[in-house]
């Protein structure tokens, strides 16, 4: 609890924490363009693909919020498992030999994780880790399976992908876990509820074949 919750310093820290990724999102692609290097291309493609697509960003955000809410050992264990599983899934997706995961399953992590955040739900450790590993594989797979552009350096893409989602997870999880102020915890639950509602709507849209 350093600094005092609700204090000006704490407020500024949280706002800065939220502005930083926003600012870097605006600046980094520009610097990537400035380099114009094919070597950087795959790294940045891997890094920004999951952050620019709602179907990938929202489950990631929900997982980060949930891990932060749970705190203690979950705060680092769940994100680590997720990133490892996502890298595995991304590798599977690129190999094109892996199982073809149905795209219509994508909203399920949004719904499940969003609900857990909204309800401040807790699960037994084995179930939480298993669920997150499953969602991670699916997330990574979805990220690379439908890659439109030619991937020249798959390892670089994987590195960028891991860095991107790792940074988002680290950033959000630490803020949520550290700041226990009531208003912030409520804002987190509200966000979870938004993600769950989006997940439910999209899930039904998918299942009715309206897409």
């Amino acid at each position: 609890m350093s600094p005092a919750p609700g204090s000006r310093a704490a407020r500024h820290r949280v706002i800065a924490a939220l502005l930083l990724p926003l600012g870097s999102c605006c600046l980094l692609p520009a610097s990537a363009l400035a380099h114009g290097s094919a070597t950087l291309g795959d790294f940045y493609a891997g890094m920004f693909h999951p952050l620019l697509h709602f179907e990938l960003l929202l489950p990631l955000l929900a997982l980060a919020l949930w891990s932060g809410q749970l705190g203690s050992s979950h705060a680092w264990r769940l994100p680590l498992v997720f990133v490892a599983a996502a890298l595995l899934g991304a590798g599977l997706g690129m190999s094109q030999r892996g199982i073809e995961l149905s795209g219509s399953l994508l909203p399920i992590p949004m719904l499940v994780l969003g609900l857990l955040v909204a309800a401040r739900g807790r699960l037994p450790a084995w179930l939480a880790l298993g669920l997150v590993a499953l969602f991670g594989v699916q997330h990574g797979h979805a990220n690379t399976y439908a890659a439109e552009q030619q991937i020249q350096r798959p390892l670089l893409l994987l590195a960028g992908f891991g860095t991107g989602i790792g940074l988002v997870l680290f950033h959000v999880v630490t803020r949520v876990a550290r700041h226990r102020a009531f208003w912030l915890q409520t804002a987190v639950r509200v966000l979870g509820s938004w993600i769950a509602a989006t997940g439910l709507l999209v899930l039904v849209l998918e299942w009715t074949g309206n897409r």
């Binding site: 407020r11 999102c25 697509h53 639950r189 849209l205």
Partner: protein, 203 residues
């Protein structure tokens, strides 16, 4: 609790930032479709005066009711609304959706104007009534295309932000005479709702 008066402002700022963050995607060619879907979904709930007023009223009423409605409603509302949205997508027959929304405007405005505090379950029921109609109206119009996630996220976050704005307005009660001001606002909403109902009736 010296700074607690700023809490809703802070929540609002954060929510706004988070909601606007995806707009950064607009700047990128590959994210263009997602960005456009988000914006059209975001603008959709803002387009209908009845929906905006009812949503504002939900927030204002929550602030008037105080704990726990003030924070419970923003958490629960999106889910109830999504169930309404599902009914809309599945085209479950629901009679007179726009009438339902207009009635919500009048009733919610009246509750604020009278400064009534029904038990939590009763107020939750009343708000859910509106939530289902609101979700249905927008769910029925969800586009059947690949931007569904962005569109839904935009629609849900816009609705949530109007809710938070209503709570922000509700904090006028901390000013001198604020409670009366809030009640006057409720009367204005109810009156507008009656006008809208008349318009519906004439059509």
């Amino acid at each position: 609790m010296k700074t607690s008066g700023n809490a809703p402002t802070r929540v609002f700022c954060i929510a706004l930032l988070v909601a606007l963050a995806p707009l950064a995607a607009l700047a990128h060619v590959e994210g263009e479709a997602a960005g456009a879907g988000f914006v059209s979904g975001f603008l959709h709930p803002l387009g209908g005066l009845d929906h905006v007023l009812a949503m504002l009223a939900v927030g204002m009423w929550g602030a008037q009711l105080g704990n726990p409605a003030i924070w419970l409603l923003p958490v629960a509302f999106p889910m109830v609304m999504a169930f309404g949205g599902v009914a809309g997508i599945l085209a479950v027959p629901l009679p007179a959706v726009e009438v339902g929304v207009t009635i919500s405007v009048v009733v919610l405005g009246t509750m604020i104007a009278l400064d009534r505090r029904p038990p939590l379950w009763a107020s939750a029921l009343l708000v859910s009534f509106f939530a289902v109609f609101h979700g249905y109206a927008h769910g029925a119009e969800l586009p059947g295309r690949s931007g569904a996630v962005a569109y839904s996220a935009g629609f849900v976050s816009a609705t949530g932000l109007i809710h938070l704005s209503g709570i922000g307005i509700g904090f006028v009660t901390r000013l001198p005479h604020g409670r009366s001001l809030l009640r006057a606002g409720g009367s204005a909403i109810a009156a507008t709702g009656l006008l809208l109902a008349g318009q519906l009736f004439l059509e």
